[in-house]
Amino acid sequence: MASRKLEDKTTKYSLKLQKTGGPYPAVVVGAEYGRVWKIDRSRACYSNIHRILYKQLMTQGNLYQVINGNPLGCCAEVNASDKLLKRLNHHIELNTIQFSNPRRPRTNQIVPICDNCKITFE
């Protein structure tokens, strides 16, 4: 479970995007490990994605391949955890990363986690 602080920061970021009036990403989410946290949005992941994430995603399919209705490696969870892993610069297990509630900036609704991310991070 993510810290209250990360939940608040993710909500603030979602509401900030809402106020821009669009264009909106589909989802934003926060990822944390210990006291380090990063927030990111749904988009295509960078080609230099962290090797731990890359290896795990490759067990499900190719990057950007649509699996279970979502392109692999494009979820906010992947992008936030990629930033986090690069910031940490030491090995951690993906299932030790804590995520805030994923939010939809247009409405600030809480978006259920997709099947691909359940496999990647659980």
Binding site: Q18, G22, P23, A26, Q109, P112
Partner: protein, 165 residues
């Protein structure tokens, strides 16, 4: 040009059509699949997004009807840690703006399922004026169906000739 699958599934895209009665329809994609007519013509849609973002609000709050069943439809996705009224206000804001510009504004119902094409009406003007947007530079994509004003979710893509679901 077409929206790529990555663009379609990672962005909450506004798209616009007109029904057979010339009712202006706004739809929020929530990262879901787009109808082929929109997906294959991103230039038209991006042009419309730009034009519509500059339209004035011609209706006030009192001229807009909010779906009275909204709470039942979207309740499971609202943040239970926030006062419900505030969560609903956050939810409605972008749809209310579109309704004030004269659109029947729809949202995707199952936001976790990108391939589901059920949508619900969020907000719309009390009085429909078919001439309201005549002078705007909106490129009109007309659907063959008459969009119903229902308070419950329905398959919006059923009203497209080229339904792709």
């Amino acid at each position: 040009m077409a929206y790529s699958e990555i663009e379609m599934f990672t962005n909450d895209i506004d798209w616009f059509v007109f029904d057979i009665d010339s009712k202006p329809i706004h739809v929020a994609s929530a990262g879901g699949v787009l109808p082929n007519a929109i997906k294959e013509n991103n230039i038209m849609n991006e042009h419309n997004i730009e034009v519509i973002s500059t339209l004035p609000e011609v209706y006030s709050d009192n001229d807009i009807i909010i779906n009275p069943r909204l709470r039942d439809i979207i309740g499971i996705y609202l943040d239970s840690n926030i006062f419900e009224e505030l969560a609903l206000r956050n939810y409605i804001s972008s749809f209310l703006l579109m309704a004030k510009r004269g659109f029947y504004s729809f949202d995707k119902t199952k936001i976790e399922d990108s391939n589901d094409t059920h949508y619900h009406l969020v907000a719309y003007p009390k009085h429909f004026d078919s001439n309201l947007l005549n002078d705007s530079k909106i490129e009109r994509y007309k659907i063959s169906g008459r969009l119903p004003i229902w308070n419950f979710p329905f398959n919006l893509f059923d009203f497209f000739e080229d339904r792709n679901n």
